[in-house]
Amino acid sequence: MAEGEWQPKIIAIICNWCSYAGADLAGSARTQYPPDIRAIRVMCTGRVDPLFIMKAFADGADGVLVSGCHFGDCHYIAGNFKCAKRMFLLKSVLKDLGIDDKRLRMTFVSASEGAKWAMVMEDVVKTVKELGPSPINQLKQ
């Protein structure tokens, strides 16, 4: 990374069965992507409480990714669907709070989609870099 270049802080909460496995597959295939995202593993995206994401933004996250199984493929029947509904609602709340809703992303990456995981990583980093530092971080300065 270039000296002095701003590095975004992006957190990903990903499900054990699809996206985490897909991210591992990207690894076995040595598919390269930028290292700016830190992952937290949960068993299902259904576990993702919107407050976790609010907390992340309050802590200064520049972007948050939630990634689970494709609809119909959830290891727990429909946890991903329930999460997606919450994320949809949360996006409108974020907007009202002055946080660009593009900073929150939900994606669906299966255990066999290593290449897609790398693409998601590229795209999320690019999007957040274009948006620049979170307004919460600007307040802190």
């Binding site: 690894g27 930028p34 700016d36």
Partner: protein, 671 residues
């Protein structure tokens, strides 16, 4: 939950994984950084943490430093979490006080060209893991009994083999097949390569065995309707489709003495409705009441109610046996099993989508499976290969390999269907054997003769006189007058175009997962690869398992396989499926939801979130609180992600643990 808390003491162990990690990440710097983290008492590194000396480091450190939590920064928990949990336990700590930081699969391997970025990411990953490890608690897996029964879905050769193995191991086995008979694709084949055994001759004894094995309960013309439960205790509801005909057992159960279908066929003789037989790809007729072929198991006729006009002539012909019930409806039955094997097989790719080869446009272009039926002694022509256009014997036949396989145009399939090379060689042999003077031409990209005695078989067919032309066929066109076909290709060995006139073209079409398999796959919680094949738990180390505990795979449903490989995997799956049954109990990871009753308002909104009906409201101290039925809870945490009062405590993924991870990343870094 309410255990006495002592100040966390964490040990961090960084793995080099040879150069897999250490080649990219500065392990020394990461280790030194880890030692500075809150609660971290000891930080160490080692070449291979998963090795015996690596694990010994963990065991010794727990004892030497009175640790309360362990972090190993290495590969992925999906590979080595069980390994390090065992080491943690051997050190005297509860195994759930272990947390893994993934610095290989999701770091060094994917950031190979950015050592600085990868090292920074590894430090963060360990900081996040240590934060969680500081809050981990003792958890105890729940041990549940395993039902002494198994189910096999799909009764092709794989399903048959798996069912026989389970049954011979003394396990009650339900064998479920959607078609009216067992046998699957293999029963449609004529000969098998490279031994040229007659397919039905080696399959029929096995079909008969499953039909009368005392430990096998055979459910043909039956589909899986609903799946409930978990490893050891699956409740599976079967839909027994209305067959219109009772077996002798069913008739006896209804008190019809000496009744039920004995396979005499009088009904079919009387039936006035004639339809194409799908088993023969429409090349032979069948009645509305039918059996596919003489070797069906069970030998019970079936009514195709879509075709039946309910004239009642079959009922009359059946007479005193009273086997036929034209008003029969689907029935449902729920069975309890400990483990399940899926063996749902394959279909042929709709090769007519590849317009350039003229299937379904030109009469004399057929698929390999149609060829199998035409050359089979029990097939529609009694084993006489004829041209569909005029009934003549073909003397020049072209085989088009990779028809839709290894095809990246988006119309076909990108993968190799794996057995087409070999059966096409077999077809060439059969032609030369049955029709003296007949010349087979094999258009190929590569010949993949991958198995035992397969390469030798390839040379044999070459020596017998089959002509091989390397090049993918571009186009097949018909001579409208003679109905002969022109095969256009490039011979890539000679580097010149080919225009070959033949009597018949056989397309070795790609294969694809069985139609409508997705609902079944999803009911069992099994993922699929991008091509739709069911996904094994690990391609090398767990090729029969799935990510759903207690559900295993056998045969082509997992990916293209020939008969020996299918049978071998079926035996593997049967072995894997029998282990929990013989052990008698399994341990479930204790990721259960718990209710923090002091926070619960008894609103009951969590109940609708739970996919497993594990939650309910109960009265306690005069108010309603949520109650978790642990045996039903699978630990997804969907309730915990939703509860507006924060009253749900998701073991091992608690809100404080997740928030600590978020905080550790965003607030705890080096500034």
């Amino acid at each position: 939950m309410a255990e006495e808390k002592k100040q966390p003491r964490i040990g961090v162990f960084v793995c080099h994984c040879g150069t897999n990690i250490a080649g990219t990440i500065d392990v020394e710097a990461v280790k030194e950084y880890a030692a500075t983290l809150p609660n971290v008492i000891v930080a160490d590194d080692y070449q291979y943490m998963c090795s015996t000396p690596g694990q010994a480091k963990i065991i010794d450190a727990i004892k030497d430093h009175d640790l309360t939590g362990i972090v190993v920064a290495a590969c992925t928990p999906r590979l080595h979490e069980p390994t390090f949990r065992t080491a943690t336990k051997e050190g005297g700590l509860n195994p759930f006080r272990f947390e893994m930081a993934n610095i290989r699969d999701q770091n060094s391997w994917v950031h190979m060209h950015d050592p600085e970025g990868a090292t920074a990411k590894a430090k963060d990953a360990i900081r996040i893991a240590a934060a969680k490890a500081s809050l981990l608690e003792d958890l105890y897996p729940k041990s549940v009994p395993v039902e002494h029964a198994a189910m096999v879905v799909g009764a092709g050769v794989g399903g048959i083999q798996a069912a026989l193995d389970l049954a011979n191991a003394g396990i009650k086995t339900y064998l479920v097949e959607k078609n009216p008979t067992v046998g699957g694709r293999m029963s449609q084949l004529d000969k098998t390569f490279p031994t040229l055994d007659c397919s039905q001759c080696i399959l029929t004894p096995k079909m008969v065995d499953v039909g009368r094995h005392p430990n096998i309960e055979l459910h043909t013309y039956t589909e899986v309707e609903e799946v409930d439960g978990y490893i050891g205790n699956f409740d599976i509801t079967l839909r027994k489709k209305a067959r219109g005909v009772m077996s002798q057992d069913e008739a006896a159960a209804k008190g019809i003495v000496g009744g039920g279908c004995n396979g005499c066929g009088d009904c079919a003789a009387a039936c006035p409705v004639i339809k194409p037989n799908p088993f023969e790809f429409g090349m032979a007729p069948r009645k509305a009441i039918y059996i596919y072929h003489p070797q069906v198991v069970p030998l019970v006729y079936t009514i195709d109610f879509d075709a039946c006009v309910k004239c009642g002539l079959c009922v009359e012909a059946c007479g005193e046996k009273k086997a036929i019930d034209l008003e029969m409806t689907d029935t449902f039955e729920t069975v309890k099993v400990g483990t399940v094997i899926l063996s749902t097989g394959y279909d042929m790719f709709e090769i007519e989508k590849k317009r350039e080869w003229g299937y379904k446009q030109f009469d004399n272009v057929i698929t390999s499976l149609e060829f199998e039926r035409l050359i089979c002694a029990s097939g529609p022509t009694g084993g006489h290969l004829i041209r569909p256009s005029d009934g003549e014997t073909p003397m020049k036949v072209a085989f088009v390999l990779c028809a839709g396989s290894r095809d990246n145009t988006g119309v076909g399939k990108p993968y190799c269907s794996r057995f087409c090379c070999m059966y096409s060689l077999k077809h060439a042999h059969q032609l030369m054997e049955k029709i003296p003077g007949c010349q087979p031409y094999i258009f190929y990209m590569d010949i993949r003769s991958f198995g035992k005695m397969y390469e030798e078989f390839y040379y044999r067919i070459q020596n017998e006189g089959a002509k091989f032309i390397r090049g993918r066929v571009a186009n097949v066109l018909e001579d409208a007058e003679t109905k002969n076909l022109h095969v256009y290709a490039e011979d890539t060995l000679l580097g010149r175009p080919v225009d070959l006139e033949v009597d018949m073209v056989v397309l070795a079409a790609a294969i694809q997962p069985t139609e409508n398999i997705d609902p079944v796959r999803k009911m069992f919680g099994v993922s699929c690869s991008q091509d739709g094949w069911m996904l094994e738990a690990h391609p090398k180390l767990n090729p029969c398992g799935t990510t759903t505990a207690g559900v295993f795979l056998a045969g082509v449903c997992q990916g293209p396989k020939d008969i020996p490989d299918t049978v071998a995997q079926a035996e593997g799956a049967a072995s894997a499926a029998s282990i929990p049954i013989h052990t008698g109990k399994v341990e479930l990871e204790p990721y259960f939801a718990q209710c923090l009753e002091e926070k619960c308002a008894g609103c009951g909104m969590c109940i609708s979130q739970c996919p497993y009906s594990a939650l309910s409201l109960v009265e306690k101290d005069g108010r309603q609180v949520m109650h978790v039925t642990e045996a039903k809870c699978k630990g997804c945490g969907t309730c915990g992600g939703f509860c507006p009062g924060g009253a749900i405590y998701m073991q091992h993924f608690t809100t404080p643990q997740i928030v600590a991870q978020i905080d550790a990343f965003l607030l705890g870094g080096e500034e």
